[in-house]
Amino acid sequence: MPPRLGKLDAKAFAERGAREILGYKTEPWTLKQAQILNFNHEIDDDLGDYLLPRTMHPAIPAYATFTVIVCPESPVGPFSLGEVKIAGRAGVRPRDFVLRSFCDSADARRELAERWGYPAAPGEIKLTARHDRVIGRVTAEGRSILEMDMLDRDMISGNDIQYIASMHLARNKDDGQLVLVQVDPEFVFSRAERGRPLLRTLDSAAWGDTGGHLKVRNPISMSYAVADIALPRIRFICDPERPAFQGTTKVAA
């Protein structure tokens, strides 16, 4: 029996939010002292398969990651980003498939899409660090679509945190083909915390889940970090309709 693979209709999904990428030759960016609030949450295993491209296998158990990032510095000025990602594996590598990103800067949205294929849409992102909690909020078209709190902040080491590289469904401007772009940032941590996770609001449809497949189950963990993020050159792309073992192409060393 073939292994479990994602069941996402990539073409239909792309119609709802994929952006154009301008080839795969981007220069790296460094995002200094970015604040990152990250929430790992188990989701329904069977339904979760419908949120992963056929390139990827689901993690066991399936889980999603909700992220809010505030970047005070970038080549296009400050910007903030909110993301919902579905964890999976491309072959034997852990990878997150980004359902959708929301970003509060038009320049950053354009650059992130054209350089790394971020499926970025306009939105308001807020990250508030209080003594008792860290709060992340994402708003789009006047509606709150993600609200999460990290309670009881506790210092940990940046070495304890592992973020997973992400896969962005994008359309290559050169040939019009849909591709999954692998983005594997590097992080240098200057602060790391863990806390008790609390999900207050998740409007899954706003994040591209129009089929009602994103059902949260058991919360896992939440972390808050301050780090320099290096957004690297693109090294690998995948065919969204073929398993990663067969459909991965190396585009840079």
Binding site: I60, Y63, G91, V92, R93, I156, N159, A192
Partner: protein, 369 residues
Amino acid sequence: MKFGIFYEISVPRPWDRETEKRVYDNCLEQVVLADELGFDQVWAVEHHFLEEYSHCSAPEIFLTACAMKTRNIRVGHGIIVCVPQFNHPIKIAERTATMDIISGGRLEVGTGRSATWTELGGFNVNPDETKKTWDEFVHCLPKMWTQERFGYEGRSWSMPVRTILPKPYQKPHPPLWVAVTSPGTEVDAAERGMGSLGLTFGSFKEQAEKVKNYRRIIRNCEPVGEFINEKVSTVNFMYCHEETEKGVKNGRRLLGTFNFLAAQLLACREAYPTKSYPSLGLLPTLRQEAAGPGDDHGVPEGIAIGDPERVLRACKNWESAGVDRINFLLNALETIPQKDVLESLRTFAKHVMPHFRDENHSVAAAGGR
């Protein structure tokens, strides 16, 4: 050097009523043959919820069946997850003692704490706690086996004075081991006088350093048990065939299948930031090393697959690195047909084992048979 076999009990979908039975039956048949061929130990893991990768959630039952069907092979219950939500320490003491009696004193006891969120999350375990509960358990277990009456006031568990029965057949008690996956756990093993049950691969150089460190530290250990079990064991894949091409091809299929299955699981570190799990644990380390560049046939360093000469070379290299025992994983998802697995065991016993025969005939560690 001694050789054993090691079971995750990997079951392919679809899980109809016959699939799991067939896999268990195959494993038991392999154990019976391994016993006849002179393999020294059979180990079975304790894993829960690990779809396809491991359906070995009640290893004590499987190992009891192994003991009943064999005469000489030692049965390794390991690792037992030393976390209260998984196993109450009283139950561990009772069931291991019973297994030791039933097997006629052939039990080895491996201890550990689980490395996946799949399992820890399933039992609602706080990952920060597992190293601490493991330490409490391993300090209690030998006393529960050897003292007529035992009582305990601890951090993660307590009990008033009672008589824990039965007592193990081996005297003073079965050998104790620690699963070594995270960096530095070999130090934990050495400091407590326990065997190092390596479940990851590394380069020979890296392994030799670890073994050297283990043997240096264990000289000044404070043993948790009544004796020191100074032994270093490692795990390996094994597929041995007289034709190089077939040996390598089937062996690599085994590696690839195992590594793929392991990758789908959720390592604790990936999901839950904690200093308690500094590495990705058993599976990804094993995967990473096994996916290394390899030799002219693409076989990674130290992996016991291919023709007997290659397999012998790998085993000799592990011996040179200071390893006392190698436990072999024989199959994953039944990707290798049962008749080929059995033939591989026979080929190994015929062509490789004789090169280690003298050592194999030595008597087991204190408490052994």
